[in-house]
Point group: C4
Chain length 342, copies 4
């Protein structure tokens, strides 16, 4: 199976909303919810992609060649590369019923595991989703990050404990899902949460707690204060609030605020190992990749996921060779040029 075959098959199975575009840039699907698009004008998604394209790699091949290592140590574990599958939920609604949230999670968890990566998995209105995913994570020795929505503190605590019991190496919360009005309509309201509530949650589990959906230095400081061990800089792919900045352009200020004090992951528009390289150069510790795994799963299940991670790893390694970086620690600000939007 090749990635080209995966894409071709995905076009047949992924449903009416996603077009499996040659450039997955948020244009064809803008405003398509249900579907994979950004909300409203779609600018949250589109800007993620476009802003990444402004960052350029500093090529220099005059140096003593060594074997490149993409290995990353994060949250007490070693990964083959600092790239993870982002949580994706309600796939039956946004894509097609060829998969449901459980079978989708299973495919990304196993594919990522095999490739030396790991998957973040999603949460849903129905309890079976989270439960089933937790079991899948348990079955592979805890190599996955269950990501809980900002329900009531009580419910979050219960789910965090389930994650801990399953041996998950970390547990996440997408705090920006507070903007998903559709959840309240289904009788399961979500809401913003203060530092105190987050601290209670972080303190209730023994493994690292990761807050996803941070877009400001102040937000990052609050996450740190709450005891989070990591954050994901993210605008939720443009799906919870229209017209936000791209995640990459707010990264530098966040790195300045909390860099070195917690792990900083990022998602939004990342497609290639070169994109991953850019985020690392700007100070991120790792990257979550979202939509590319949707067509990977719909077109190739676990194998599609594995091939996608492999491709990204090869691209990252190549970028390191061409810029003279032997390890991730060598990928610093000097390796890219970038003028942020503002």
């Amino acid at each position: 199976m090749t990635l080209q075959e995966v894409r071709e098959k995905a076009k047949l199975t992924i449903g009416p909303h996603c077009k499996v575009c040659p450039e997955c840039d948020g244009r064809a699907c803008r405003g398509a919810i249900p579907g994979p698009g950004g909300k409203g004008t779609g600018l949250g998604f589109i800007r993620n992609y476009q802003e990444l394209k402004k960052i350029r790699l500093t090529m220099d091949t005059i140096y003593q060649s060594v074997q490149v290592s993409t290995e990353a140590r994060l949250f007490g574990r070693t990964f083959r590369l600092p790239v993870f599958a982002a949580p994706v939920g309600a796939v039956g609604l946004h894509y097609s019923d060829a998969y449901d949230d459980l079978s989708y999670s299973s495919a990304v968890l196993n594919g990522c595991l095999r490739a030396g990566s790991a998957a973040f998995t999603g949460d849903g209105v129905k309890d079976e989703v989270f439960k089933g995913t937790i079991e899948a994570i348990k079955a592979i020795g805890g190599v996955g990050v269950p990501t809980i929505k900002p329900w009531s503190v009580k419910e979050v605590l219960a789910k965090a404990r389930m994650a801990q019991d399953a041996g998950a190496f970390a547990v996440g919360m997408d705090i920006d899902a507070a903007g998903l009005a559709v959840l309240a309509m289904q009788g399961k309201p979500v809401s913003p949460m203060p530092v105190e509530a987050l601290a209670t949650i972080a303190g209730s589990v023994s493994m690292p707690f990761i807050l996803k959906g941070i877009m400001t230095a102040e937000g990052a400081r609050k996450a740190l204060k709450a005891g989070a061990k990591g954050i994901v800089v993210s605008n939720h792919g443009g799906r919870v609030l229209d017209e936000t900045p791209s995640s990459i352009e707010v990264l530098p200020a966040i790195v300045e605020a909390v860099g070195g004090k917690m792990s900083i992951l990022i998602d939004g528009g990342f497609r290639t190992g070169l994109d991953v390289f850019k985020a690392l150069a700007l100070g991120a510790d790792g990257v979550l990749v979202g939509r590319p795994f949707t067509y990977a799963v719909y077109g190739g299940d676990e194998e599609g996921v594995f091939l996608t991670v492999e491709k990204i790893r090869a691209e990252l390694a190549e970028a390191m060779v061409m810029t003279g970086a032997a390890t991730l620690a060598d990928i610093d600000r000097s390796k890219v040029s970038y003028q942020a939007e503002g």
Copy 2:
């Protein structure tokens, strides 16, 4: 009735010039007068829309959730949100004869009233238009702002008195209508007016006088000196002079000049509650929305207007939730990022 149905019906009734575009951005109708377009190249309209799209919202959902209030106090009254219908005139000419200025005003006045907002209404060459509108405002207890064109001082004074007698909570003048050469051609010349004349007008009525069509800090200072209680930062939707700046990009300098000393409203390209949020963040006290009400009326009459206000209010409230603003006072400069054109 849904807004989608309103739009579909509007396409059938609104006439040949307006295309009810998915993005109402001034491109399809550029130069179309009669019609809804901007004058000449249409850049006055187009820039309004484009410049608003450059402003980005600062997302942060780590805070103690509270009930959001979009309530605004302006001109001695409380509104459910700081959004008003902009005056639109000669609808029979620019759109279709499914409506005339009286039936149009009636629809926006009543729809806005019901939604907790209020409408600015227009003026015309024929006296019946203003007279009829005044009666409609009187019938709903004065919840509307008659907007007088810059005719002779004598005529303006007479009309302002009519507005006062009808109990209108404010009276406006679109001073930039001085550029409407078409009025002179119909025997009713308009012209620029000095501070002194405006002061006479402002001093002749007991309710607030609002000057619409301010595009510079100096113009705002003159309006203040004339005794106006409010201004509308506006390039008249690009219809009185081609190639002006957008209204949003001149807002910050105007806020610096007169902010806190008078109420600052703005119009030009505002479509969603997110757009409203941006103006408030840059220092405006309220927003006038124009063209969206034209298809609201042609497609849904009073109900279409009501639904449009409701949609904008919901979007504004959602933006407040996602940025951590409980009241309008919390929407400050830190809630957006923006680099003005120049």
Copy 3:
């Protein structure tokens, strides 16, 4: 006859190269020589148009209304507006044989005269062209500016004397025509000229000498030193050298260098009275308009020219009303906002 009819007729008569586009911006005809296009990539022409579009007008209608005057005093004469027809040559080649250089010159000279403006006329490889044009200028009392190509000094002196004998109120030279290789191929070489040669020419006639094709402050200083009473800031519509800056973006530096010491005219992409207003606001004393007169002549002869000047004058007057400028002297830098390319 209306300008719309003029345009419609021009489409039938103007030949295969010019498309009489709704926006005459140099795109459809890029690289079309023969034809009206800019050389090579066409960027010289295209940039002229685009850069003008970046300049925005400062609207303010709060002031005591007075009668606007567009009257300009230049080169010892009073014109109804500071706008002139630019010299256009070889019209039979670049447009169609419905006109030749003599009949074309006659139409612009007479149309401009009637509208209170004046035309610059061109020069050609064949002596009859210049001779005939001179006679036409003489016939209307010298209200035209013969523009000589940079041939040998001897030939230029002879032609300048012919212009003087005809009573022309000024005489010009398009020094940038040194780039027209096509002339050398026809046995009439042109070349750059030093200050000394230009001083000889300027000193040989009693009326003002105008150098056209200045694009730098240094070039303007040299023109001043040569005794020129005026310059035309111009990249020759992008037709002598590809990839130059636009004329408008180099204007401010030139104004700073020689403003007040000589008359500064400009051409390149000017279409409307608003465009004229922009150049005046940036310090120009007058504007030459080129291509719009080609479709004016081909579609309406002298009458088309007259209507075109009238339209530009009305637009200029309207811009003055909307910005509070009573005379040309009031159109200063505060009346526009502009960020030049660099």
Copy 4:
């Protein structure tokens, strides 16, 4: 034969990947490898072209006209213009089998020689390619620059000696070919090389050693330290690493670092003599032109190459006339305006 005929014929013979576009800007072929495109998104190629278009020429024709000379002295030789054919390899794969690497090299070597220029020639997986090219260079008195890939030092030394024996006036290495994974797949790995290894190579031959693929000031300093007499600022036409800067935008920093201490050539997106002029104005000593020679050869063999060089020379000379540069030394920073991307 005209260049227009060359282009027409090339369209028939050049194969399926190259479209011989009117503007050879890297868009139609983006990602096309095999083919002439840039890798991945194609941005490396596309940016080269676009960034050059941002540089504008400073026109001034007021000066004493002299005969322009485009003559350049480089690497101990005098060339009619400072423009060379860039090395292109595997033409049978990327274009069509109407040519192979030997016949292609022969055409560019001879065409360039005749036009007073010289060609850089490529290297390949099979030894016959390099060997054959060397013989072709020997046959024309050494007027060519064999360009060796970064194989093992031993192999490079052997090939450099072959170049020296053939009398080549210089020998090059495209150090950035370290990114061509396809070579390793064919059993001939390439890799980055440290300064020491490059110094060994440079020291092993008597003629100048030129390092191609420098994109940073630091890389240029290392090349200088290694004893290279020249560098080619190049991103390999976007074919070894995606998303690099354009070569022209990194040129100024490189000139500042090593200008005057070694010869600085550049390639990437150069199409016309005006493009060459821009690089010289920014401090380059010469320019390599790549893709235009591919359609020159496929459409006109040696004669197509000759005509292409002649065209570029005429354009360069014309730009010099229009900006007042008599020799290449006169083409300095004042002759262009440019704001680099970052």
